[in-house]
Amino acid sequence: MSARDRILDGCDLETFIVCDDVEEGKSLGLRLMAELGFDDADVVFCEMGGPGVRIRLRGYVYRPAAEYRWYDQEADSIE
């Protein structure tokens, strides 16, 4: 069972990235999400201030109508 399968919908990552402008911050943020293995990722919020951006990134594990796997480890009782 993957812990990631148990995420209800999306996984948000909130941090501060040192960069020169918002675009660089967003680009680095999305690269970070890709490095973490989130294919369906987006920037929810990004604001430049001082040495970088405060950024909130979201990786959707399941969008509505996707095939959820929260209970697949209990498959015997479901299927």
Binding site: D42, R56, P64, A65, Y68, S77
Partner: protein
């Protein structure tokens, strides 16, 4: 009386000892001996005092700080080395403490920020420590109870009654395919429940004839509507599983304050299973009610689907099966609203809300036809039928005024709302007034809210409550155009608007999630928790202290009342509610209101 114990209370902290002082008082009240040491002693000094005092318990407290774990572990080691442990139990408490953390550090017990002082005293007296969990209301409330719907403002009341009677008389002579389908749906479900399959087939065939677009296609060919798919057997079973689990779930005690209020959230992810999760999570974090949010295409299409469907985009398809599935996630005390405020299926939606056991619905022909795309004539005919059905089924409904978001001034929106609500009361219904709590385009352009967001919103509440004794439920959701993609800012704005509404006399409030201004994907469950947490915190913060507007509020309320009167005078002088909608008396193109086109030309005179 328990055997008195001796307790040494030691703040292992440079400053903070309020928690221990509170525990000392509770211990002494119950006959125990409590020795409180001053703050800022070292672990060694506390152990030294313990050797002198020979207490039964040592209770140390520690506020948040770096190195807390190391310090507490060192204290436990010193107690062990000094030989205190055989007769003395060690207890720790503090904002950063959790019971499992206390155990890992070697303490006999630990209390976190949610534990009351009594829990520590119970522990001293050898009573079982019951984990502190929240509760949620187990029974429903009637939010309209006690309201008389009498007009205090007779001048405005007389005009509302005149306009409402005119619109009811006009609608009485007319009908629509939406009304016919509502009748067919009722008959179909009755036949289905009695196993009369031939009748069901005949009624279904008749129903299909008066549907349109992809819904008609589905009835005739079985081809699913775009971006929808039937729920799988696995999904249906998972909803059952969630329903079974919900009775054993824990609720955060920190959110119990919301039990004293009526805070609603809107769900409508597209998927009934995901909606079930959004609902139960929101209820766990204190939502008293949930509102079903349907897809916008459903409002432009004649006819509603049957069976259980998942939808890939915003809004969850309204069918009896979908509603029944989502209902499985609700608690017995949860209030449930299924909206019928716009579109071509409003009477049938009220029928389905009733059949599914919903508690509330939403009806307003003015918003639906000026701000949501439905033809005014059609929506007035269907809206009146919806109000009749709501009265028959004992379903209260809010009369929403979101046309303000299009730019319609509050005075026009309120005039329309008051006339529709009056018509509802004349039909035996129990409407809520739903003023928009938002930084509305009118306010932005006029600068009404340049100084603060309090005065204009409070003025709205004052005006409405001075006109009629009716329940007010601001929404929907509150805080429109003040939220951003920043979840902190969004949560704060939502919470402040909710607190302001409830402080100003609202019986209920609908809040957004912290994803309100994010359009890149579906709302996530943590975003719902954000604003429920923020709202609970705001209500705790203001308490009975309340929020005070500036002196401007009375002038704003007076101006708004006079503007409403002016609109109502024009409406009554025109003598035709539906014509007034087309002609802009309740909001014109300059304001940003456009009479909708969906369903135009479908109203017919009833056969005599």
């Amino acid at each position: 009386m328990n055997e008195p114990k001796k307790v040494l209370l030691a703040p292992l902290d440079p400053v903070h000892d309020v928690g221990l002082k509170l525990i000392r008082k509770k211990l002494m009240d119950r006959g125990h001996e409590a020795v409180l040491l001053p703050p800022d002693l070292t672990p060694e000094e506390i152990v030294s005092r313990a050797l002198e005092e020979k207490p039964d318990f040592i209770m140390v407290s520690r506020a948040l700080s770096y190195g807390t774990s190391e310090l507490l572990a060192k204290f436990v080691d010193l107690c062990d080395a000094a030989g205190l442990r055989p007769r003395t139990k060690l207890v720790v408490g503090g904002l950063s403490m959790r019971p499992e953390m206390a155990q890992e550090l070697g303490f006999d017990a630990g209390f976190g920020p949610d534990a009351p002082a009594e829990a520590a005293v119970d522990y001293v007296e050898g009573k079982e420590i019951v984990s502190i969990v929240g509760t949620r209301p187990r029974s429903k409330v009637d939010l309209t109870q006690g309201y008389t719907y009498e007009f205090s403002d007779k001048e405005i009341g007389d005009l509302c009654i005149q306009a409402a009677k005119q619109l009811l008389d006009w609608a009485e002579e007319r009908t629509s395919p939406g009304i016919r389908r509502a009748q067919l749906r009722l008959e179909m479900e009755e036949a289905r429940s009695k196993g009369r399959s031939e009748d069901v087939d005949n009624l279904r065939a008749e129903y299909a004839k008066i549907c349109s677009g992809e819904v008609k296609q589905w009835y005739q060919t079985g081809e699913p509507v775009s971006h929808t798919r039937p729920l799988t057997r696995k999904e249906l079973k998972e909803i059952e599983l969630l329903s079974e689990k919900k009775d054993h779930m824990q609720f955060p005690v920190s959110q119990d304050i919301l039990n004293d209020y009526n805070v609603f959230i809107q769900y409508g992810t597209g998927c009934p299973e995901m909606d079930a999760y959004h609902s139960i999570v929101s209820i766990a974090w204190g939502a008293r009610g949930v509102v079903h949010f349907d897809p916008s295409w459903g409002a432009r299409t004649e006819g509603l689907l049957e069976q259980a469907w998942s939808h890939e985009h915003d809004g969850t398809v309204i069918t009896l099966d979908n509603l029944n599935l989502i209902k499985k996630a609700l608690l017995p005390g949860t209030l449930w609203q299924v909206r019928a405020h716009r579109g071509l299926n409003t009477p049938e939606t009220v029928v389905l809300a009733h059949l599914a056991g919903a508690d509330l619905t939403k009806i307003n022909m003015v918003y639906g036809s000026l701000g949501a795309g439905t033809d005014p004539e059609r929506l007035v005919v269907d809206g009146v039928e919806s109000m009749k059905l709501a009265a028959r089924y004992n379903l209260p409904y809010d009369v929403v005024t979101n046309e303000e978001l299009c730019g319609v001034p509050a005075a026009k929106a309120f005039a329309g709302m008051l006339v529709v609500a009056t018509a509802g009361v004349l039909l035996g219904g129990r409407p809520f007034l739903q003023p928009l709590f938002a930084h509305s385009p009118e306010a932005i352009i006029a600068g009404t809210m340049d100084d603060n967001f309090i005065d204009f919103n409070v003025a709205k509440m004052k005006v409405l409550s001075s006109i009629i004794d009716a329940p007010i439920w601001p929404g929907a959701p509150v805080g429109f155009l003040t939220q951003s993609q920043d979840r902190c800012q969004s949560s704060v704005m939502t919470a402040l608007h909710a607190a302001l509404a409830l402080d100003s006399g609202a019986i209920a409030v609908t809040i957004a999630s912290s994803d309100e201004a994010y359009a890149g994907g579906p709302i996530t469950v943590p975003a719902r928790i954000d604003t429920l947490k923020a709202t609970a915190a705001a209500l705790r913060f203001f308490g009975k202290g309340g929020i005070s507007p500036t002196a401007e509020v009375d002038k704003m309320a007076c101006d708004l009342r006079n503007d409403i009167l002016d609109v109502l005078n024009k409406l009554v002088a025109r003598g035709d509610f539906v014509a007034s909608l087309y002609e802009g008396i309740l909001g014109d193109r300059e304001d940003g209101a456009y009479p909708g086109r969906a369903g135009r030309g479908t109203v017919t005179l009833k056969k005599v």
